[in-house]
Symmetry: C2
Subunit: 205 residues, 2 copies
């Protein structure tokens, strides 16, 4: 049974284009069912390479070139002008992950908006956000001070929070981005948003 | 632009539950857009393990257990009673692939129905169809003689046709089951049928 008091959990990695596509839609989807969204970090570099023992998606023969084409097709369908080629080597996602973890503690009401701002800057703006200083170039949500964000993202505390969040994601069985968990039921992939919608509407099957 | 004279290509492996789910819906989808379907063999054992260098899906940590659950959820949504556990080791798909290749040459009008009959027997009936003789237990489409099918599936000719079909699938860039190709545009995954539907309706984007 659905319990509308419980938030939907939304797991994403900043370097996942499909995570970005889902991030753009998840709040509207949840709100339509009276739900809030708990945005949660995961790292594909840990789940895919260390835990699952697979190679990076874009380095996988056949699948890599299909995915590059599919990402751009998806972006066109959403009307998004991507400035980052899906085939380009991804940035190191740790800085963004740590900045997001810092915001969850210090500006919880703006944390989701910060995540979206970082993803916009990366995918649409083509910025490399792999160092704390690089975050200064991002159009930040109101209320988040660039200097504080840079210091927060560079802090050992934020690195620890991100490690804990990634451990928790693996404990929850999360391996891909995006992953959505509704009342304990897990859905992987942006192409499952319609299924999540139906699950929320019906209470499951 | 769409060209309704061209068939949609539908690639599947008999041991892929998502291929089965798509097989149940592809003809209706195509017909709605005035298209026919060219059913085509692929083998995950070749594309996933030999070409992509990945391990079998169900043996992949985290992803395997999610997939087992997801397959049964998908089956419930379609109202299908699965008698084969997704976690069970798959049968060897070569016999079914060869039987299908034989049917494409000798009973082209029944080949898709044969593929569906074999998948029904495997997924719903729980039959192991890894030897030619085992095909006698399948409820075959009218016009296909069980003895001829068994002999066809056991023939060196059919083995060669399957090898050629799998080579052709790899040449076309196909790596997963199901894969649907519409006028040169490739879509991977049963959760992309809605996108294929939209592509056919709009001519692409």
């Amino acid at each position: 049974m659905n319990d509308t008091r419980l938030p939907i959990r939304f797991y994403f990695d900043f370097i996942s284009p499909y995570g970005y596509f889902a991030a753009l839609r998840i709040e509207e989807l949840a709100a339509r069912h009276g739900r809030t969204v708990q945005w949660s970090s995961m790292l594909l570099g840990v789940s895919v390479m260390k835990v699952m023992g697979l190679k990076p998606l874009m380095d996988t023969p056949l699948k890599g070139s299909y995915t590059g084409r599919d990402v751009l097709r998806h972006a066109r369908r959403l009307g998004l002008g991507f400035r980052r080629a899906p085939e380009a080597p991804p940035m190191n996602p740790l800085t963004c992950g740590r900045a997001f973890q810092w915001a969850l503690r210090h500006h919880p009401a703006q944390a989701a908006a910060l995540a979206l701002a970082l993803m916009d800057a990366y995918w649409l703006g083509g910025l490399d956000l792999s160092t704390p200083e690089s975050l200064r170039a991002v159009a930040l949500p109101e209320g988040i001070d660039p200097g504080e964000l840079v210091a927060g993202a560079a802090s050992a505390e934020a690195a620890g929070w991100l490690r804990e969040a990634v451990d928790a994601s693996l404990q929850a069985g999360v391996f891909g981005s995006p992953t959505i968990v509704v009342d304990g039921e897990m859905f992987w992939g942006v192409d499952r948003l319609e299924e999540v919608d139906r699950w929320l509407a019906t209470g499951g099957w």
